[in-house]
Symmetry: C2
Amino acid sequence: MRYAVLGTGIVGRTLAAKLDSLGHEVLIGTRDPADTLARTETTPTGVAPYALWQAEHTGVRLARFEEAAAHADFLVNATAGQVSIEALAAAGAAHLEGKVLLDVANPLDFSRGLPPGLDPVNDDSLGERIQRTFPALRVVKTLNTMNCQVMVDPGRVAGEHHVFLSGDDAEAKKSARELLYSFGWPEASVLDLGGIETARGAEMVLPLWLRLMGALGHTDFNFHIQGAGGPGAWGGH
Amino acid sequence: MRYAVLGTGIVGRTLAAKLDSLGHEVLIGTRDPADTLARTETTPTGVAPYALWQAEHTGVRLARFEEAAAHADFLVNATAGQVSIEALAAAGAAHLEGKVLLDVANPLDFSRGLPPGLDPVNDDSLGERIQRTFPALRVVKTLNTMNCQVMVDPGRVAGEHHVFLSGDDAEAKKSARELLYSFGWPEASVLDLGGIETARGAEMVLPLWLRLMGALGHTDFNFHIQGAGGPGAWGGH
């Protein structure tokens, strides 16, 4: 399969590396590849310049949003939530048509300081906003409720835990499930919340996630919905 | 101990019945006891009139907010979140001074239809608002992330799951912990998020809780933070 991962941050890199390791053809989309490769600074949160990562991941190719989307069968939105619509618009609606988009982003709003709040919230969500703006895209909100290392390696967190799905297209959710299984998520760990409207719930959990990170002092944790399934649903776990 | 449970809805009744069964002296606070007792209708969600419940719980006494608060050592806010400040104001700031308040309410906003959103959200929370309005009260936000039957009987949900604590007063949080233990919560199930500001996280999880209820078709579930503690932290569970 040909994947386009939009976003060159730590989430995009982690997902791209995983997809590459699974034998997929992966393009990372960015606004301006030359600009992305020219950056030399490490971010305040310790993320190394993209070029350093690129040198170690030669199987992944950097491209403009538009080229990445045109090339791919399957898209992943790993851009910062506040610029996701803009990034998808740059990819071009014609290149999104009929394709599945895994939306793993969160609409974190840093404009009022730290920790960030969310925007939109309550009566809208980033997942819905993307689906509404690009109606021919088949949006599945998933994986946004955990650290990116856990997304691609659920075994980092011992025991049973869940990944949520929200989306209006049943076939697209089936594709998303299959991708999650290939990342190591057991079948029973995938919890379908319903239509894309349920992304409101999955996104609004982020403020709790941020405070749990503060309280626990690490990011190797995840939500498990106890009572969601029968005991033993996770098999050998 | 003498408890005042503010709020005559299903949450207040369930908590009051549990406290009564544990041998505490319990008053339920309401604006106007005669009015509360005169209601005969069952609510749209199937909650029976208060008077019927009262007849079966003769150990619990109904009183005005002010009388209930004056009498009690320990308060529980089980009012609807949108009227909690008003209910506490009716209780009288003088009767709140130095007392611990367990705030189990959620600021659900039904003004834009169902499912409800939250107000406040992002840069404030009901827990903080109560603490700010009544600075001499020692507010602990807890138990608001689950159905009330699970609050008082955590064993309804098989396996490990968590109850969060948010509050600025360490002694008050210790008292809250002890009450939770008496409800059957194992020590390892109590997860201290930090100061009262962290109530923002615990409250913003409600939209996900509501969608989980929709997806699962029941309310006997709860959040477990996998990776929060070592394996076996729950002992025999």
